[in-house]
């Protein structure tokens, strides 16, 4: 593919955002890839995104503090309040086994958030290392890495997850590892493309010429340049991780009971869906909200950082 596809190359003088030509920003609705810093309001995410961040933060805090919060035991059944509605004793009602929904959602968050965040970190770290190696490596290495990611992508993900979890047994660790592994190809691709183009830039070439070692070069010169893209993609993948965990929980192959997981709660609640829809709706809503929040934050970040492709 030729380089002059209109996305790269020198911006036209009148369109290049410069500190003085604010007209540029107004002229074409958003600036093209300029080299100078964006206007100083780049840190503003907007109200919606801050609300999303707030919700995620509260949930994280609640999950972290769950053992010391005045919550009921999420595994204890109140046999006098089966699938009960909202009450003073049970703020979000109870499930079909009479367990407090609020406590289960908060404790379930420990699983969902850990899996979502853990899988994302695994995918990001492994994917970034492999992606940089694929982008900058020489000889057979890039080809081998890319074929490996192709193999992983071609493998049906759900079947892969079910088989591996079936082999090693369901636990927070195994679920996190499997989902993290499934995330690797995405990060490899997100990282490799900019690394490929960065590695041809002058400053990188000159660093190489000066004999900087490859790992050092990657860490010092390349990584800072692609970190924002990784973080943005990661935020979105966090939501995906939470959702995948929910799917596995729904199929009954996530963290084993009685530890609550959102997917498991939704699946268990389906048994009484007709009479007590709240038992399954409440965890569904929480799951949707969390993924929604992650998506909103990721989207706003990518818009701010002009990383439109990252939402893929």
């Amino acid at each position: 593919m030729p380089a002059d596809t209109g996305l790269a190359g020198t911006p036209p003088p009148d369109l290049a955002p410069s500190s003085a030509s604010a007209s540029a920003a107004a002229l074409s609705e958003s600036p093209r890839n300029g080299t100078r810093p964006l206007p100083p309001n780049r840190n503003r995410l907007g109200t919606g995104a801050w609300l999303a961040v707030g919700f995620l933060a509260v949930l994280c805090a609640a999950a972290l503090l769950a053992p010391v919060l005045p919550l009921e035991d999420p595994t204890r059944s109140d046999t006098d309040a089966l699938a009960a509605g909202i009450s003073g004793d049970h703020w979000l009602g109870t499930d079909a086994l009479g367990r407090d929904t609020l406590a289960r959602i908060v404790h379930g968050a420990r699983v969902s958030l850990v899996v979502g965040a853990g899988a994302t970190v695994i995918g990001a770290v492994v994917g970034t290392v492999l992606g940089m190696a694929a982008g900058m490596g020489r000889g057979l290495l890039p080809g081998v890495i890319m074929r490996l990611t192709d193999v992983l992508l071609a493998f049906p993900a759900m079947i892969f997850a079910l088989a591996v979890i079936g082999a090693v047994g369901p636990s927070t660790t195994s679920v996190t590892l499997v989902i993290g592994l499934l995330f690797v190809p995405g990060f490899v691709r997100i990282v490799r493309a900019p690394v490929l183009s960065l590695s041809q830039r002058e400053f990188v070439l000159s660093c190489r010429a000066m004999g900087m070692s490859a790992p050092r070069l990657m860490l010092r010169e390349i990584l800072p340049n692609i970190l924002t893209g990784i973080v943005t993609y990661g935020v979105t993948m966090f939501g995906v991780g939470v959702m995948v965990e929910g799917g596995l929980g729904f199929l009954g192959v996530s963290v084993p009971p009685p530890d609550p997981t959102w997917g498991g709660m939704i699946a268990e609640g389906r048994q009484v869906l007709a009479e007590h829809p709240m038992v399954t709706l409440t965890p569904t809503l929480v799951l949707v909200l969390v993924v929604l929040c992650a998506n909103v934050v990721g989207d706003r970040l990518s818009a701010r950082l002009d990383m439109r492709g990252a939402m893929l």
Binding site: P2, G6, P12, S18, S19, A22, S23, A25, A26, L27
Partner: protein
Amino acid sequence: MNPLGTTNPTTGKPASSADGHGSLLRLRGYSVHLHSPRGIVAAVDGVDVDLARGRTLAVVGESGSGKSVLCRSLLGLLPAAAVAHRGGTAHFDGIDLAVTGEAALRDIRGRRIGMVFQDPMTALNPVLPVWRQIALPLRRHLRLDRRAAKRAAVELLDSVGIPDPARRADQYPVQMSGGMRQRVMIAIALGCDPDLLIADEPTTALDVTVQAQILGLLDRLRAERDMAVILISHDLGVVADHSDDVMVMYAGRQAERGATRGVLAGPRMPYTRALLDAAPTLHGERGRRLAAIGGQPPDLTRLPDGCAFAARCPRVQDRCRTQAPPLAPVPGSAHDGACWNPVPVPGSADLPEGGAPIPQETQETSRA
């Protein structure tokens, strides 16, 4: 080509001719203020233009001086949400552009006013064969059917000097060289035989040899079709050879204005002087930027009360900082300038000399 001042490329009235009678395009106090993240920007501020058929007006200035905004604003190409205020009047062939609606403007754009963009690499759609890009405005404005439009497209390609036009018509921009793409752009702009052609830095992105050919082509077409041309450029060499009148813009305002020859031979406004100084040779390095002038252009959201150039001006006086100079005839010159302390009348020796003749076009071949 001749160095400035030794021959007279054109004759006729300067753009600043007082009455503006017979003007195809006539602007009076034309201003465009834009929203920006940091406030309202006076991108174009109080510009007067008179342009007659068959003549070329060059608009010169640094990045962000308002040249492109001016042209795009005239065609209604600025996003409506971005425009905070439009002032003054703008008449095109008697039509008041300020009150013309978007639909009516669409009938003018492409039909009566053609536009050529700076970068033929990006201004052509990469995924459409060139004939379809030429044909679309023909079908829209001239109601040609598909076959007639294709025939016309091939003829247009021929008329802008593209060899083997029938074959080239089916190609994609990626298969063409930069010069050839700019010829395609010109063919598109000329398709409906417009009265006015706006060429926005048409050669900046091209090799120096190709530049001359494209500019020559524009000159020829202008003469053949009796078009008016607005040539936006920062390359004073280009301006000197291919325009009748020149308007130098700084921070959205007119800094100096008049017959090209007179202005370039005897710039009075220090900014124009600086521009000339920054261009060592007429056919020097391609892409040499005006940023060679010391200092930064002013913040357009907070223009000083005085002269916008004061902060960078070597001839700055106290008055310059408090009071904006009006555009007025400069004593001792045949053109107008906006300066309290004009450069003394220069000798032609100050002008840079351009020696070497431009080589003939030899490079324009397809890449594909």
